[in-house]
Every structure is written in C-alpha cells, then in structure tokens.
Amino acid sequence: MDPASTPLGKLLLDEITPVVMVLSTPLVEEACLKNGLSLVEMLSPFCVFNNIDVPVRTASDQPYRIQKFKLRLFYASDIRHPNLEVAKERLKQVITRAGEKDDLYSEPPQTSNLLSSSESEIQPSWFEFFNKELVRTMSFSDHEAFDHPVACLLVVSSKDEQPINRFVDLFNTNKLPSLLNDGAMDPKILKHYLLVHDYQDSDQEKAAKILTDMRSTFGLHDCQLLCINSSDHEMVERQDNPWAPYKSGDSPSQRLGCFLNVDDYNEIKDLLQDLSSKHIIPYMEQKIRALNQEVSATRKGFRNQIKNLWWRKGKEDVADSPAGPMYTFSSIESQIRVLGDYAFMLRDYELALSNYRLISTDYKLDKAWKRYAGIQEMMGLTFFMLDQSRKEAEYCMENAFNTYLKIGSSGQQNATRCGLWWVEMLKARDQHKDAAVVYFRICDEEPLHSAVMLEQASYCYLLSKPPMLRKFGFHLVLSGDQYKKSDQIKHAIRTYRTAVSVFEGTTWGHIKDHVHFHIGEWYAILGMYELAVKHMLEVLACTHQSKTMQELFLKDFLETVQKTGKTFEVLKLQLPKLNISSLKVAFEDHRTYASPVAASVRECLWRSLEEDMIPSLPTARTNWLELQSKLVSKYRESNVCVVGEAVKVDIEFKNPLQIPISISSVSLLCDLSAISDELNSDALSSTVGPQNDDGSSNLTTNRDMSSENFSFSSSEVDFSLGGGETTLVQLMVTPKVEGILQISGVRWKLSGSVVGLHKFDSNMKKITKGRRKAKPPCDNLKFIVIKSLPKLEGSIHSLPEKAYAGDLRHLMLALRNPSEFTVQNLKMKISHPRFLNIGSHGNLKTEFPSCLEKKMASEQSGVHANSNNLSQTVFLFPKETLIQGEMPLLWPLWLRAAVPGHISLYISVYYEMGDISSVMRYRTLRMHYNLQVLPSLDVSFQVSPCPSRLQEFLVRMDVINRTSSESFHVHQLSAVGHQWEISLLQPVEAIFPSESLMAGQALTCFFRLKSCRKSLTSTDKVSTLSPLLGSDVSLRPEGSNEPLFDISCSPLADFHLCERLHQKMSHQGDPNAVDFILISQPLKDNITPGIADPPHLFSHHACHCSTSSTSPISWLVDGPRTLFHDFSTSLREINLKMVIYNSSEAVASICINTFDSTSTSGHLSEGTADLSTYPSGDQTGWHDASVVNNIKVTSDVHVGAQVGKSLSLESVPPFIWSGASSTRVQLEPMSATEIPLQICVFSPGIYDLSNYVLQWSLLSSDDSGNQEGKSQHSGTCQGYPYYLSVLQSA
C-alpha cells in the first residue's frame, strides 16, 4: 500500500509543504476584494500542483521527479503561533454547528446497521475537519522547520505610489513575524516581487513601466506582473468555483472571483507554477545541498562525532528548561533540522531520516525535550512515508507523544497533534484498537476536545475487527459525559442515543439506568419531554440502586412528566409491579358467598356439602341457562355474573423500590357489550364499554376516564406502598346491564401524574379460583351478565371465634333478602352437626340457659328434642318461609364446641327464586366460619360393678380442668337412659370443698349407679334411642337451689345423639353401656363486668361407658353368714340362694356346677380363669360345653396364683354341696332368676363356698340359621368367695 495514498499520507503531503510568506500593500487587497477574496485566497487554489513534473536532485547525485507539489501561502501577520483562545472558539463553533444539524427526533441507529456500514458513513463528517483545525493550531512553532517560510512573496499594486520603495518597505523587519526576528530562522530567504495590476483602474502601460523599474532594481527573474479583474463588463459565472473551498464564511460562492476571466485565471496559474518550479524548488535543492555539505563537514565522520560528543559533554550544566537551550538558525542543530525538513518536503525521505537521526541524539543529550519530541515525531512520519519498520514508526510516535506530555502544559497541544498523526498512522494500518487507545490518551483537560476524541475512539472500536461493541458503547458514554460538561447537549444526546442501541437489553443494571436516565434528563433540558419520559420509564424499577438514586430517579421522572403538562398512559408501567400470578377473580353466579372467607374455600368442599341439596340435573352447571340456550351454545365456557352484583378481582401490587410511592385510582379496565335482545343474542347491538385496548402505542395521552360508564361501574382504590411493600388490592366492577363483560386489564395512577396500564395477557392468565374446572383460560375474564336476581345475605349472630370445649351457646342465623323478589323453598345444610345444630323456630325467643332447666312434666313438651334432625342431614325450612324485603329471617342455631381444635364450619343455604321466569332457578348461599375450640374439662368415667350388689355399679369420674385460667362450677351429672339411677356416694361438700374447679385442678369423685331395669321388652329397646330420659345428680352444694338442666331438651339431647354417633365404639350394641353428661358452668367471677356476656353452659358427654366388665352374667350368692349349730346332734344343711342376672340382650343358658373336692376345685379355678379370660377357647356350641371336657382340655395349662389358696383350703374340713351338682337354667335377656342352693356342713368352721363354676353361653335371640354371623359367647366363671362361719352352738 502506497503510504502517500492513505489519509495520513495525503494529510502530510498537504500539511508539510513549503510555506510562502505573503507581504502585500492595502491597495492590492482592495483590488482583490472586488472579487470577494483576499490575495492569499485568490492565489491559494493554484498552489496545488498535481502534475508539476519537476526534476529534483538533492544530496545524492541521482535526480528524481516530483509529480505533486503544494505551496502554502500565508500573510506575514499569520505566520506566528496561533492564539489558543481564538482557535478554541473556532473549534467550538465547528462543533456547535455540527450539533445543530443533528435530528434528535429521528430513530437512533441500530447496532447491526452500524456494523454493516463503512467508516465514512458512520463517523460524522466534521471529525476530519475538526482534526485538521486542531492540527493547524499547532503550526508555526519554532522547534520545527517545516512551517518556516521558504520564500517571501512581496506584492505591490500598480496604483501604489513609488512602488519600488513600497517593496523595500514591505520587507521591514518590524512587521516581519517573530520567527525571523528572534533568530529562529534565517532572515535571508528567497524573495519574489509581484506587481498586481487592476485592469479596471488604469492602463497596463503604467504597470509595465513599473515592472521594468522593478526588474532593474531587484533582478530580472524575481519580478513579475499579475493582471487581474480583466472582465469589467459581465460577471463571470462559474459552475465549480475554485475558490469556494478556500473561502470560509457564508458569502455566496457565485460572487467569488467574479471579475476574473479566463485570462486572469491562467495568468495566476502560470505565475504560481513558475514560482514553485523555477524558484522555490531549485532554491530548496540548492539549500539542501549546501546544508548537507556543511553537515557532512562538521558532523559526519568518526572524528566529528567524537568531537561533538566531547563538546556536548562539556555542556552538562545546561539549565533543564522545557524548551531546552535556544538554538539560533545558524547553529548546526537548527541547520540539520532545516535540512531534514526540506528533504522531507522534497520527498527525499532517506535523507530526511538520516538527518533526523543525527540530530535526535543531540537534542536528547541537550535535554531539549520539545525539539527532541518534534524530531521523534518527524522520524515516525518519515518511517511511515517510507513504509518500512512499522514498529519503529510507532515507537517514535509514542516516544514523541510521551515526551511532549512530559514537558507539561506547553506540550499538550503538540501532543494532541502528534497523537492525531499517530492515530491516522495506526488507522492506515487497520490497527483500530490501538488507534482507539491513542485517541483516549489524547484527551486533555479540555472537555470538548476530549469529547470529540472519545467519540472518535469509540468509532475506532466499532471499526476494529472483530468489532468491540461494548468498548464502543462505553466510550460513547464517556464522550457524551464530556459533551455534556461542555454544554453540547445535542452532541451528548447523539452519543448516548447510539449507546442506547448498543446497550439495549443489557442486564447490567447500573449501565442501563445510567444511560437511560441521563438521556432522559437531557431530553428534558431540551424540552423534548415525551422522549425524556420514554427513556426515564426504563429506569423506574431500579431495585439495585441505592435509595437516594431511586429517589432521584423518581423525582426527576415525575418532574419531567409534570412539565409535559399531559397525563401519560403507559402500557406496562413498571411501578408498581403487578403480580399476575396473584390474580384472583371472585364472582357469584348461582353460588353466592356470605363473606370473602367463604369464597376462598375450595369448591369441592362446597360441592360435597351441597350434593344432596341442589337439584340434580344432568347438566347441573347449565341448568340456569335453559332459557338462553342460544347464548349458551356460544359462550358455554364463559362465566356468569348477575347485574348489580360485583365481580371482584384481587391483585397484588409490589413496590420494588425502597422509597414509598403513592398509587391512586386503581381500577379495572372493562368492556361491557350489552345485548339488546335476549333472544336474538347473536346481535350484539352496541358496544358501550370504553375501548381502552389499543395496546399498539406505548405512550398514549389520556382520554377521559370512562370507568363511570352507564353500563357498569368500577371501584377505584387509592393506597400508598412503602419501600418493598406488597399490597393485595381488591377491585370491583359491577355491571349494570345485561351483556358480555370482559375484564381486560387494570389501570392505576402513579403519584397522580402517570397512568399505568396492564393488560391481562390471555395466555398467562391463571385464575386460581377454579370455579369451573377444565376450561380454556382465555375466557376466564369473560362474563355473561344476566339480569338481576335476588340474593340472600346471611350471617350468624354472635358466633364466637374462640370457645372452650363443651361450650353450649344459642346463636341466631339471620337471612336477608335485599331485593324485591321473593325466594322460597329454603334448605340448609351444616357440615358439622356435632358442633352446630339447627334449632326449631319455636325456641327463637327462648332464653338461654333457662330454657334448658327442668320444668314441670307438663311443660316439657314445648321444647322436645327433634330427633329427626339427625337422620335427615338437610334441614328444610318450613314451606311457607319466604324472605322478602327488609325483614330478615331469623332462625335459632345451637353451637356446642365438641372437641378442642380448629374447626371450620360450612353452612350452605339453598333457595329458589320466587320468579319462575328468571334465568337462574336457584342459588346457594355459602357461609363459612372458623372456630377455635380450647380444651376445658377432661372427663372420664370408669364403671365397675359393685361386688356386693347386683345391678349396681360404682362410677368413678375423673375431671381435670385443662384451661389456663377459667374456673368451673360443676353443675350436674346425668346418666342418660331411664333405666339408670345415679346417686352420690359422698356428700357434695366432701367432693368439692371449694365449690369450683380451678384451672389445672383435677378431681375424682364416685357415684353409685343403679340399673333399675327389670326386664327388657321390645318397646323399651326401641325407645332407648330417642327419649333421653335419665337420672341427674346435682353437684352443687346443698344450699344452692339452682335447678337442674333437662338433658332431654332440644339442644342437649341433639348434641348427645351426635356425640353418641361420634363416639361409637366396637361394642356398640352393648345395652349396658351408659352415657353420662356432665354439665358445668364457668365461674361468674371471671366474667369481666360491663360486658354483657351471654350465660354459658358447658356440657361434656361421655358415651358408651361399659358397665359389664367380664361377662354378661352376674350373680350373687345370698344366704346366712354366721350360723350356730350343734354338730353333735346332726350335720347341718344350709340353704343358700343364688340370684343370676343376665345383662346381655340374648337368652343365656347357665349351668351351675358345684364341686366337693377341693383339689378339683383348685384345678378348676385355673381352668375357669383361663376360660373366662379367653372365652374363645372351645366354643362350638353351648350344648357341648361339658365341665369335664373343659377341665381336661385346659386344666394343665396354667399354674395360677389361686393354687396356693386352693391348697390352703385343703386343711378346711370339707363340706358338700347337697342337692343337684349341676343346675341348668335358661335366662331371658335383662332378667334375673333365683336358684336355691344347699350345702351340708359337718363340723364347725369357716367355709369358703367358692368351689362352684357358672358356665354360661349366650344364645342369640335370632334363629340358629343366622348363627354363623353372630358372635356367640360362652364362658365359665369361678364362684366368688363366700365365707360362711358355722359355729358350734353351745
């Protein structure tokens, strides 16, 4: 690649060219100004020679030809170091002008587009111009020679008086640039004299005469005449004006050079070509040769080098000033530099390089850093132009750059220029990445320059292969910040806008926030609020930012929004966050709910509860739609709601920020398309809902709030969210006409200024209230609105949330129907009849608990247990019950907290519409209450038969107060069943010394229970279930005359039946089981005064307490205990009596065997014990059960504890059983019989009459055909010890 054709090559060939100093008189300028041009401007277009073809011979003898050449013309006054401030101002203007052209509204470029387009398309075109201007601010420095004028052009007008003297005056040292005056360069430069003649002024003859004078004075070849303004009549029109590019400013280009015709044009061209080829180039050649000779003489060769080194060493003590020692033009160092620069300008790069190298070390040794840097810079460029040793070129440039920077602020400008050249060099070699780094290093304190440099750096990253997009973005942002610092907001926005496209979709939160926030801020400064808001929206949900940043973001955002003066509607506003998965829709079709709690209960629970209550139609779900079958066919899957009844939507709002935000006017977006004709349902006559669903535009200005439409009304909720808070909001929409209601989204207002919208996306919608199973989700928010129906409202008054176990209360169910239509055919079902019982309408006004108190027998019929409740789970209200208007229907309920724990009570009320024509025929009202039951009294009973009495039992009652603070009065204990009689064993005072049961106190007391049943008839058996007659015992102290409670009354009896059902045990059929009800009352002291607490009653039920311990057969041997007899006369016969009672429900066959032998009896005792314990041993039939067999089988099994006792009996003189040794009786169920027994005693002594066994077996009351299924019991019982003392009578 030819270095000269690269951008840098072109730049160098442009910029490092011989300078011609122009000195002119005012009259010359005046003549030129007629064309709108200064002299230099007029001549400049002709200073570029593309095909000059001049032979050049420099130091070597080999000549070469220069094709392209250029001269730079400057007024003498311009040949000085440019004023930095002016230059800066000019650069700033360049940038500002470029900024004005930008269209900030246009779409920002996309990254993919940027990558595919070429360099020139991406970079703003003014970069090149800016760089050139920046380089020019560094021209005419004294440390480098290529800006030093090579020649001087003295121009005098023919109108000037004494033109010869004017020429002399022009080259007056006072006006010359400082470069010449202070000795930095040789004042003896090539002079060329030019006489300008204006045709419009006078004849050419005068000019010719002056020219002759000049030639005689200054020499023949150095003087020339230039005639201009030849066309005095017509304006010369040019298509492509050669002067236009050179003329800065805005003057119309057509006017430029309007008096210059073709002759003038050619004359100027010839003049300058002549000047360069015949004067300047030969002069430079000559000078190079002369200087080269001198340098060779003084510095080349081994001897000179040693000498030079020696001489330089001697100058060690030179002050280390940044500029280094002053070198005059005559010093050898300056001459070498001039030689190098001239050689460079004449493209003899080899010669230039060798001279640069020569002088470089000298400057370094002299510590003339600026000059050293300049030399290094030129060396780098020379290497580049030679296209060799890239490394060295770069090294030189870097060295130069660093050295410039080292000398402090004065070198900064030079460093910038050096850096720019370096960048161009790297760019020419496609080292864009390195170029970017250099650009970055060029940045100085001046923010504007830095901004441009950083922006250029960013484009370098984009152009590098592979493109480094992140670096590109980063440097754009850096550049934007610098632009902002220098008040170039438009540029700042431009860079950031490009950066936004780079950082689009990034997950680096801080980056995204920074870019969007700042660009938004700047748009706001420019007054482009809508764009500003658009960008600021992106940063609102910045959870990762600190609190202050979040505050700042939100504040700025709101301010910007306020400045727009509009209310924005933003789709998917991120503040606050909507938790879509929390979306819950509650609506009421035929299922209505008394409370929100009830609505949240799972549907299957309600269904199982209502199963046998609601009419079972084949398509139960659609039965109400029969009248609208057409409509149904179309919207079968839609939900149904009723006019005037609200559809509630629960949705969760979350504030992601740490700062509080206020949300107002949260409402639902709905469409309600009304149906005008019910039958012609396909014709949806009009769509009256607000059409809010144009989701296409992201930002739409607000239309008037139409939620208060006549077709529906929706609720508005205001709330504020603290940092990180989550709030569940319930929104309602109430349709007012029939039709189809579609809930499409939710809208809210953030801080009263921004409206956020959120559309419920039909795909992601998930309704947790699955009222309808297996339904496509897209229709979940679509409702068919049907005409208004009566809706019952129900509540249970005074239902406690907490209760102690056993608490019995009187509650009131109130049902209200606000609509004017009647409802009828009410039914009710309760999930836990054990806890909640339905009273009868009669005891609506009764007083509790006095209604339960025992009254006279005649009054009892009023509140009798309605035992039918139990079998019939659905409670039917009386047929005539109609609920209408204001009057609520009250119905009594009984609550009894049966067992401790958390109980959910579900109550469902079914009702039918009085109006048959209504679409929905029935509805249900669902009520749900939670009840916490705390443990109170633990009651347990143990019943053991009384050993001495038949049909009597000893009852041990253990009561523990499990509460933490409550104390109870134990009021009464009742044994349920008319056959039982219960009585106290001890006086009450002995049991309850403190009259009450304190918290945690345990108590044991004993009662006597007596069965007064003589025989069991079939009627009795039936009646055991229903009437709960029983015997009560008051446990209150004697003095108190509080009445006993009647356990056969409605709630107590009902609950007792429930308890019986619930506490069912395996031996259910046991007729001897006894149920106890313990009634207690809390101590009155505990009730806080002032609060009218309803009277409490606690009932504890213990059911199926078994009385029979081992066998159903019980017996008692009765007879004399002590007898006197004179055994000397005769033996004594003693008559005894055995009473046997069969407590089972079956006929028992009993066989009494007596044994005389004690040893046998001892054996037997074991055997019987065994048998009685394991009654399933050998029980094929009662008739097979012979004593002998039993003995044989089981006698040797155990050696029981009774053996010892039996053995001890051996010493006792025996007695014999007289009479039958085996007696067999059949005993009817629940009956007793008496069997006479007789023994013979032969001597006095104490006799234990226990050596008999009772063998019993139960025959089922049914036939034997059912025998296999029935359990048949049989067993053997060892006789009781019965001690009989027989004494010798005196």
């Binding site: 990253y461 592979p466 480094m468 997009l469 992140r470 670096k471 973005g473 980063f474 440097h475 942002v477 850096l478 990034t506 997950t507 680096w508 939160g509 801080h510 980056i511 926030d513 920074h514 600190s546 202050t548 940043m549």
Partner: protein, 135 residues
Amino acid sequence: MATTACFIIVSRNDIPIYETELGSAAKREDAAQLHQFILHAALDVVQDLAWTTSAMFLKAIDRFNDLVVSVYVTAGHTRFMLLHDSRSDDGIKSFFQEVHELYIKTLLNPLYLPGSRITSSHFDTKVRGLGRKYL
C-alpha cells in the same frame, strides 16, 4: 488492601450474576456505574484473549485511567472480573482461585440454577473475606 476494587462474576451469557464492591474507598455515587461500564467494556478484550491462552487467570487485561481489570475465566466460560488499583498479581490470582472454589460449591447446590444470580449471603461473606485477605 486496595483502595478501590469491584468484583463481578459474569455468566457465560454476559449477565452479571454477582456484584460486590470491595475495598476501602469511600463510595461515590457514580462509582457503581463507572465500574460496571469499565468491566462491561473489558468483556470485549476478554473475548479476544480467552481463546489465546489455556490459563484461566488472564492477568490484567484492560485498564481505565488508574483502574486495572483482572480476569479469570473458568472452564464453563464464567468470568470473574476484578477492577482494582493495586498491582499484586499473586494476591489476585489466589483470590480468583479461592473464589472459583466457592463458585463451584455454589454450582453444586442443586437448587442453584447455573447462570442465575448468586444470592447466597454465605457466598457474599466469603468473597468479602477473601477480598480482605488477598487484595
């Protein structure tokens, strides 16, 4: 201890999954985003360099003014990037190696989805401890 250090773990999809500011420098408001910008831009360099060497520790690969970016690339192409202003290569290397170990432990957690944000406070504490130890 370096006066400024910012440590970021970048998943293979260029998503930052863990960020922390180490070091004793007073927090500046714009520091967080500047650090992110620098590290984000340095990913470009990592992209080039990661495939030129088999070593996981890439040393200081990029710099911005006086801040240096050191990078460690795991086998799964998760990048640990440390922005710091001190130049103790050995300490940084040890830091990276120990963090790598911690990171692998996190990966072994069956409840951690690779490539998702590391929210474990235990990990955070450990990394900060390592920062104090080595940087």
